[in-house]
Symmetry: C2
Subunit: 235 residues, 2 copies
DNA sequence: AAAATAGTGTCTCTGAGACACTATTAA
DNA sequence: TTAATAGTGTCTCAGAGACACTATTTT
């Protein structure tokens, strides 16, 4: 037997992005308005087809740069999962792999090739909107993944523009989890976790009130023991 | 503007399976010997191309049935992640989505279409072998995922043929984690976690020693609080 | 009785939650 | 001084690890 040839390829693959940030204490997601059919004009997650010779990660970072101008060094994308329902794209068979990014207050989005408009939308509002394709499901899955990630990793700090205060970091948790945290227990937790945050020695002076110590992200990536939400079940 | 047509599809997609089980106290993975080029005769993970009109999950369960005779009701497959390096398959552009399954002592594997031989291999041995494609990387990722899953879910019980004893369940943790656990603390943990295991009222009589109470899997899927390994970091 | 395995009790230490209290700034 | 925000201290409780001890079976 000689070299086996593959049957003619029949599936297209996209990498779609769920880019989350916290703005004014509220969790936002980057959405575009679709500039082409199908779902012309509908809000959707940014993303696009994987090209020949390109990895999924490569495609995801390329889309990220096109939509936001952010480069791979600025932010980390994490693969979430694949969506493969045969009817999910009316143009034909398309499988999508979703990528999750968590960022600090990001530069204003740049309208990309396929995007009539790219903008930050509060996630609650985005979930109440009719999104293109199955993007609502993708967004929900990524949200839950992001929430879980805060429990076990130091990812919350990537939401903060450096330098940041302990309260800034706490506000991230509160925005992502939609839950108030005890300031004093939160401080104890993050300051006792080696490598989570490192003090700069500087302070930030608010309009009123005691100034707060400033920190930068530390080298730790895992939170051991975890910092758990109180109320959640995920199956 | 009318309906946009997609450029000609250029990517093939496979669903590959990492099926784990515990046999004689050791973690095993199901491998096949490839019956076709490339990598003819090399051990590999079972898997195959996704067909038209089929979801990834559908393809994964179809492959599972072909290799082991197990049906969707018998075992749960969980999507892990996608592998997309352009050069990973010499036949052309192939993206693979890996699925993880945890099962009790499974029926002897059935040699499938593409498989010259399917058999259980201890994972340590499998990792020391030259596997086809990038299957070693996939196997390592799935292993770490399985280990982490035991910490936060009741998945370990799916490794046990019902009914099982507390010691049986502990042996699963010990095999998957490669780590001894204190029998008495382990018992306290699993019996105090509501819905993890439910007593049948029956007992099993070993060749020698006190008989052990028998249990079946309970309705809980999450372990709250988690049952953590002592020594592990995962980035 | 001895060997073997199952199962209980208990001590200690860590860390989370609740929350009272102190500190430092601007107005 | 007051308002506002940052930060500390402390009490209690849940749960993990260590490990001594008891229970029930076969030989």
């Amino acid at each position: 037997m000689t070299v086996t040839r593959l049957p003619r390829p029949s599936i297209r693959v996209t990498a779609d992005l769920v880019i989350l940030t916290v703005r004014s204490g509220e969790l936002h997601v980057l959405l575009i308005d679709r500039g082409n059919p199908p779902y012309l004009g509908r809000p959707a997650l940014p993303g696009g087809f994987v090209r020949d010779g390109e990895t999924l990660e490569g495609a995801a970072y390329r889309e990220l740069a096109e939509e936001t101008g952010l480069l791979a060094g600025d932010i980390t994308l994490e693969q979430l999962r694949a969506y493969s329902e045969p009817g999910r794209d009316p143009r034909g068979r398309v499988i999508t792999i979703a990528y999750l990014a968590l960022g600090p207050e990001l530069p204003l989005p740049v309208a990309g090739t396929d995007a009539a408009a790219a903008r930050w939308i509060p996630v609650e509002q985005a979930l109440a909107t009719e999104l293109a394709f199955d993007h609502e499901e993708i967004l929900r899955d990524c949200l839950e993944s992001a929430r879980a990630r805060l429990e076990h990793t130091t990812a919350a700090a990537t939401f903060c523009k450096e330098p940041f205060t302990v309260a800034d970091l706490r506000h991230v948790y509160e925005a992502v989890w939609g839950q108030r945290l005890d300031p004093s227990n939160f401080r104890r937790k993050v300051t006792n976790t080696a490598g989570f945050i490192v003090p700069t020695g500087e302070r930030r002076f608010p309009d009123v009130g005691r100034p707060a110590a400033l920190y930068t992200r530390g080298p730790a990536t895992l939170l051991i023991p975890p910092l758990l939400r109180t109320t959640t079940d995920e199956p």
